[in-house]
């Protein structure tokens, strides 16, 4: 089970804290070595893993922990990415980029440092998440999925058409590549820390209670609607933050980046890793991100036994969908299930994971 069984063995607390600290230092050192030795492509994948982990964790908070089936994460990512980019781009860049229509005057000179733009991106996404949550979270189950999917599309279409603010379908280019290993893993560390603390607290128990049995939760004095709105808003904050980091990694954003396929990849991370498991989302992010890159070879032209097969773009998504089906048939609970990584589990020789605390 989650949190408390690690705390149940309370006398190991100090040992675990030391081990966690050592692991964090080792991991940080490995990242530092990687950032000075690996080429740009590999570094980009390593960055992407951290961003996808943040996004996976935030979607897991909504879907896995609190049980709200949301298909709207790409929309909140888009909000985050645009807010951050608009705050970072210089007035000169903005004037040259908006060629269809001039940029809204109030937006031209707004600027903020990268870290501030990240916070603003998260807050903006959280605000819209909250706005959407109020009407939409009265729905449950599949209806919620459809409603959030619809909202995500609305965001995308708004971005495409609000040309004075977003530069429409041309998107934004030349965003400074502020997302480096230090930034992405720094953000991941903060998000991970907050998630672990939150899910180990009694409030974490309450979120799981709302997921498991809403009627019983209400009977136990929990305002389930408010709790769900809160969890959804927090998840959207993560979505906005991840979107902003992504924009500053790729340096180009346009509305097409934030289509439903983006939400699917995140859903894949959460489901493959394990719904309701923090460790699972980290493992899922590593597995799905590297697989998506590695599977690119199937889109290249290949020659098998003298027969030349031209590369089929999108082929890796087909293979990935098949993999997802296999996971759902044979291991529905994902790699981690609802379990979490804990040092004592590792020592007992049980199922450990690649998660870090």
């Amino acid at each position: 089970m989650s949190g408390p069984d690690a705390i149940g063995e309370g006398n190991n607390k100090t040992r675990d804290a030391v081990l966690t600290a050592v692991a964090a230092v080792v991991f940080a050192a490995a990242l530092w070595l990687a950032s000075s030795n690996l080429d740009g492509y590999k570094l980009r994948i390593i960055n992407l893993i951290a961003i996808n982990a943040i996004l996976g964790l935030s979607l897991n908070l909504i879907y896995g922990m609190t049980g709200m089936f949301s298909l709207g994460h790409a929309g909140f990512m888009a909000i985050g990415a645009y807010v951050s980019a608009l705050l970072i781009l210089s007035p000169e860049q903005k004037t040259t980029m908006w060629i269809l229509e001039p940029i809204a005057p109030w937006l031209l000179n707004v600027r903020a440092p990268f870290v501030v733009s990240l916070a603003a991106a998260g807050l903006a996404a959280a605000f819209f998440g909250w706005l959407v949550a109020l009407p939409v979270l009265r729905l449950g189950g599949d209806y919620l999925g459809i409603a959030t999917l619809g909202f995500s599309e609305i965001i995308r279409i708004l971005i495409t058409n609000l040309t004075p603010i977003t530069n429409g379908s041309l998107g934004l280019k030349g965003i400074p590549a502020h997302t480096d290993i230090r930034m992405s893993y720094g953000c991941l560390a903060v998000v991970l820390f907050c998630m672990v603390r939150l899910m180990r607290s009694n409030f974490g128990n309450v979120l799981r209670a709302v997921r498991d049995d809403e009627i019983a939760a209400r009977t136990m004095g929990i305002d389930t609607f408010r709790t769900r709105v809160l969890a959804f808003t927090l998840g959207c904050f993560g979505g906005g933050l991840g979107g902003a980091l992504m924009g500053n990694l790729i340096t180009t954003i346009d509305p097409k980046m934030f289509m439903i396929t983006q939400t699917y990849s995140l859903l894949m991370i959460v489901v493959v890793g394990g719904l309701g498991s923090i460790t699972g989302s980290i493992v899922g992010a590593v597995v799905v991100t590297t697989m998506l890159e590695w599977l690119r070879f199937v889109e290249n032209p290949v020659t098998i036994g003298g027969v030349n097969i031209p590369g089929i773009p999108g082929m890796r998504m087909v293979i990935f969908s098949l993999l997802l089906i296999v996971v759902i048939i044979f291991r529905r609970e994902g790699i981690m299930g609802m379990r979490e990584f804990s040092w004592s589990r590792l020592f007992r020789g049980g199922s450990g994971g690649g998660g870090r605390r």
């Binding site: 089970m1 408390p4 069984d5 149940g8 820390f193 907050c194 603390r197 939150l198 180990r200 607290s201 009694n202 409030f203 128990n205 309450v206 799981r208 209670a209 498991d212 049995d213 009627i215 019983a216 939760a217 209400r218 009977t219 136990m220 004095g221 929990i222 305002d223 389930t224 809160l230 309701g276 609802m338």
Partner: protein, 267 residues
């Protein structure tokens, strides 16, 4: 019984679902510290009455008043979580535990309604020592409650893995964690063997005394009802047809006709 002031009072409560009148002009009161039974044939409106009291249904007409530790309030139409906050806790006919959570977590969730620390305080360690202390107290309180109800060996087991009787007791433990002054038990003896239901009599009385509760229970097991209840209300087709002491109910013609049946007379 009349000298004790009522902890819960229903006046003229009616609820209609379309053309069906599930509860019809029900008036009843539960004295403070009393153990009261609500009986009647299936579909008589017992669970509907429970759902009205606990806020899951809003009555078509009538009033529900509750006198908790902070005085008398009208709880008609309160949402369930507000009813719980006011001090009424309940269990369910078909046990509704948080299946994926451990027994300890289930009880801690019950205690959340009285928790003052805010959710975000857990994310900033050392800054809110009071919140951290409260969290520890809740954990300790939950452990103590589990020990008291004899559930300590299931502490870290998932609720779904507990034996049936233990699940029933865990549901009560979880209800007690909300610090209620009034407990509603929906068929606490359902699925219990004769020995377990005999133990239940004692258990319910001890609950009342140890936690200074008023208890209202729905039950079909007549041994339990007659053995533990100080007063019994009988519902039939949404209407109150009798109320009185167990002896009086056992002898009541209408109750025998509607519910108990004749064989109980010579049993």
């Amino acid at each position: 019984m009349t000298d004790a002031s009522p902890a819960l009072e229903l006046s003229n409560v009616t609820i209609r679902f379309g053309g069906l009148v599930a509860v019809n002009g029900l008036s009843m009161s539960v004295p403070e510290g009393g153990i009261i039974g609500l009986i009647g044939p299936n579909g008589a409106g017992k669970t509907s009455a429970f759902n009205i009291i606990t806020g899951f249904y809003r009555p078509t007409s009538g009033r529900v008043e509750f006198r908790g530790r902070s005085g008398k309030i009208d709880i008609t139409g309160f949402p369930p979580h507000e009813v719980c906050k006011a001090g009424l806790a309940r269990t369910f006919q078909n046990i509704r535990l948080f299946q994926n959570e451990t027994a300890l977590e289930n009880v801690m969730i019950g205690a959340y309604v009285r928790q003052k620390g805010r959710w975000w305080q857990s994310m900033i360690p050392f800054a809110f020592p009071a919140a951290a202390r409260e969290e520890d107290e809740i954990r300790a309180g939950a452990v103590a409650l589990l020990v008291r109800l004899g559930l300590e060996r299931y502490m870290n087991a998932a609720a779904s893995s507990l034996p049936y009787g233990a699940q029933r007791r865990l549901e009560i433990a979880r209800a007690l964690a909300t610090k209620p002054s009034f407990l509603l038990l929906d068929e606490p003896a359902a699925g219990m063997n004769p020995q377990e239901s005999a133990e239940l009599l004692d258990f319910i009385r001890r609950l009342r005394d140890d936690f200074s509760l008023s208890i209202l229970l729905i039950e079909h097991d007549m041994k339990v009802v007659m053995g533990v209840c100080e007063r019994i209300w009988v519902l039939d087709q949404g209407t109150l047809i009798a109320d009185g002491t167990p002896e009086a109910i056992r002898a009541d013609r209408r109750v025998i006709d509607a519910y108990l049946g004749r064989e109980t007379a010579d049993a």
